[in-house]
């Protein structure tokens, strides 16, 4: 184990450097003598560098400025960093950095070797007494501590999701407020049925690994059950092969579950094109030629959103949209009859599937929002009292 994490290290340095700066104004500046060497650096420390692909070949050296850098004689030109294999051994210069710098990254070390570092301030004529630190070893890391906050929050979030899921499975009554867009989906399908015209369901142009596509498939399953019941044709154009396969499975199964496996028509689950606007053009064609009465756009959409919504408006179809792609929401909101905004798409998939398990994640997300607000408010309150370290600590990158 390392002796300290960078977070603690940073906090230590911040805390310890402060008095040095504070003292600076009180001491009378020494007369600027040409030959007087600058004051040495203080609080020198070296540690294994942490980085995504750190091979153990990097060591980071940090220090506090010499009193003559910025203050004092103000004549420091640069800092010289030397590396050696033992304490007190004269090392080779591995780098120089200009005045005002407080860190250096040595990228040429052998993993597993112990090193000592000297740092000396240089004023153009003479060097300060070196400060030395060590031993320090570059390690191939098995854990990137700078990403600890991500891990902690993700773990907390997942714990909440799983707890709520367990509660829901045990039959606890978890309240979720009604999402108005859901009724809109069912109404649209109902209208198409009354008019005896097909329902068009576009699951976006995202890949199957896009979470929005997954959420959309859950809603598709629900929609397919309704259309199976009423023998309304359901057209599902897709822009991705894998999504088409998954949509086929989903719809086929929904038709079987609704007791109408014969109504399922594989020709209605269509792969059109991976190319964005070739797909958009072909879907517009379907709208104009097959005249669906309800158009549902749920999933990941990009610029084609408005092409769909405006063409659909021309054909007088009821249109319900939902996407988490923020840049496209304005177009759906203006041009469609109802829009599920951002997270409402996920919430809808949890709500519609009537799976108590899915409600767990919705509840988990909700309470994680409360935690997020808590962290934010804490950061704000602390900043009111002049404590800015919190943000630095929690969001260290």
């Amino acid at each position: 184990m390392r002796t300290h994490s960078p977070l603690v290290g940073l906090a230590l340095i911040l805390a310890l450097c402060a008095p040095v700066f504070g003292a600076e104004g009180e001491t009378a500046p020494p007369a600027p003598g040409e030959n007087a060497p600058p004051d040495p650096v203080t609080l020198l420390s070296a540690r294994d560098y942490l980085d995504n692909n750190d091979n153990g070949d990097k060591i980071e050296v940090t220090w506090c400025l010499s009193a003559d850098d910025g203050g004092g004689a103000g004549d420091v030109l640069e800092y010289r960093i030397r590396r050696s294999s033992g304490p007190g051994v004269a090392g080779e210069v591995v780098g120089t950095v200009p005045a005002g710098t407080t860190s250096f990254l040595d990228e040429g070390v052998e993993p597993g070797e112990a090193y000592y570092y000297d740092v000396a301030a240089f004023d153009g004529g003479s060097e300060s007494a070196p400060a030395e630190t060590g031993p320090v070893t570059g390690r191939r890391n098995f854990f990137q501590t700078s990403r600890l906050p991500v891990l902690v929050l993700a773990a907390l979030f997942f714990a909440m999701v799983l707890t709520f899921t367990r509660l829901a499975q045990r039959g606890a009554n978890l309240f979720v407020r009604r999402i108005p867009g859901l009724t809109a989906v069912e109404e649209a399908v109902g209208r198409a049925t009354e008019m005896g015209r097909p329902v068009l369901y576009v699951p976006g142009i995202g890949e199957i690994d896009d979470i929005q596509t997954i959420a959309s498939l859950t809603i598709l399953s629900h929609v397919a059950k309704i259309t199976a019941e009423y023998e309304t044709p359901l057209i599902v154009p897709t822009a991705r092969s894998v999504v088409m396969s998954a949509a086929e499975e989903v719809v086929k199964e929904a038709y079987a579950e609704a007791g109408h496996p014969d109504n399922y028509s594989p020709d209605n689950i269509r792969y059109l094109s991976d190319a964005q606007f070739a797909f958009a053009g072909a879907v517009s064609g379907i709208m104009l030629r097959e005249r669906p009465a309800a158009n549902l756009y749920l999933g990941a959409f990009w610029a084609e959103s408005l092409l769909f919504a405006e063409t659909g408006f021309e054909t007088k179809a009821i249109q319900v949209a939902g996407t988490a792609n923020v840049s496209q929401l304005p177009f759906f909101v203006t041009a469609c009859d109802y829009t599920l905004i951002g997270e409402e798409l996920y919430a809808a998939s949890a709500y519609l599937s009537k799976e108590p398990k899915l409600l767990g994640s919705l509840k988990g997300s909700d309470w994680m929002k409360v935690v997020s607000i808590g962290i934010m408010v804490l950061g704000i309150v602390l900043s009111l009292f002049g404590v800015t370290g919190f943000a630095g600590w929690f969001f260290t990158q």
């Binding site: 990403r147 906050p149 407020r177 797909f279 517009s284 929002k369 997020s372 900043s383 009111l384």
Partner: protein, 224 residues
């Protein structure tokens, strides 16, 4: 006559065919629509083959030189290329109803892998960094306008988050916050809409400019 001018003229005709859709659906548009669907399907087949299947499967197994773009093979043994190859072939099991379920093995790895990959970066960029961005000092000494802006930003963020809070009815304080949230959301959508107009018109300008260039080339060619 130059070859490129023939091609460019074809492109110009196809451009006009698509614009004819603005008047109404017609055979020219249908022609362009079906043509581009066919061409783009082939384009992606070719590109995917040469960028992924060839360098990751075919070339290592048959010890060929990489035909497409070189990809970094990290100490890969040739037999490792069998793994994506076999997984890829498993996907095709769905063409044979009896063993169709085998394709789920490959799909499972694909879906699971990308889901896992997403978690940490999303936490970082979409949640942590945004919370950090929202943690603004409400009182900035000697700078009332920044203080005011910061207060508006924090209130808006709180309101928006409340709007997406599904666990409680939007009543009382929550109702007020959610209402503030929807106000911010709508202003934000309006802003995005207005901002996007420029981008869309840029595209139109680009196409018109292209048509002008083709016309110019024709005039030049006719003049000589």
């Amino acid at each position: 006559m130059q070859v490129t001018l023939i091609w460019a003229t074809l492109a110009a005709i196809l451009t006009l065919a698509v614009y004819s859709f603005l008047y109404k659906d017609n055979p020219f548009y249908k022609f362009a629509e079906h043509l581009v669907v066919g061409v783009s399907a082939a384009y992606y087949l070719v590109i995917y083959y040469y960028n992924f299947i060839d360098p990751n499967v075919i070339s290592p197994i048959f010890k060929l030189e990489f035909g497409g773009a070189p990809i970094r093979i990290l100490g890969m043994q040739w037999w490792m290329a069998l793994i994506p190859g076999l997984l890829g072939l498993l996907l095709y099991a769905r063409f044979f109803p009896k063993i169709g379920w085998v394709s789920r093995w490959a799909l499972g790895i694909y879906v699971g892998g990308y889901s896992g990959l997403e978690i940490a970066p999303v936490m970082q960029a979409r949640v942590l960094d945004q919370i950090r961005g929202g943690s603004l000092p409400l009182v900035v000494p000697h700078d009332p306008s920044t203080s005011f802006t910061n207060i508006l930003l924090v209130v808006g963020l709180l309101g928006t988050l409340t709007y997406f809070f599904f666990s409680l009815k939007h009543k009382g304080v929550l109702g007020v916050l959610a209402r503030i949230g929807i106000v911010y959301i709508m202003v934000g959508f309006g802003a995005s809409f207005g901002y996007t107009v420029m981008s869309r018109i840029s595209l139109l300008i680009g196409r018109v400019d292209f048509l002008r260039q083709v016309a110019d080339s024709w005039i030049q060619w006719l003049a000589t």
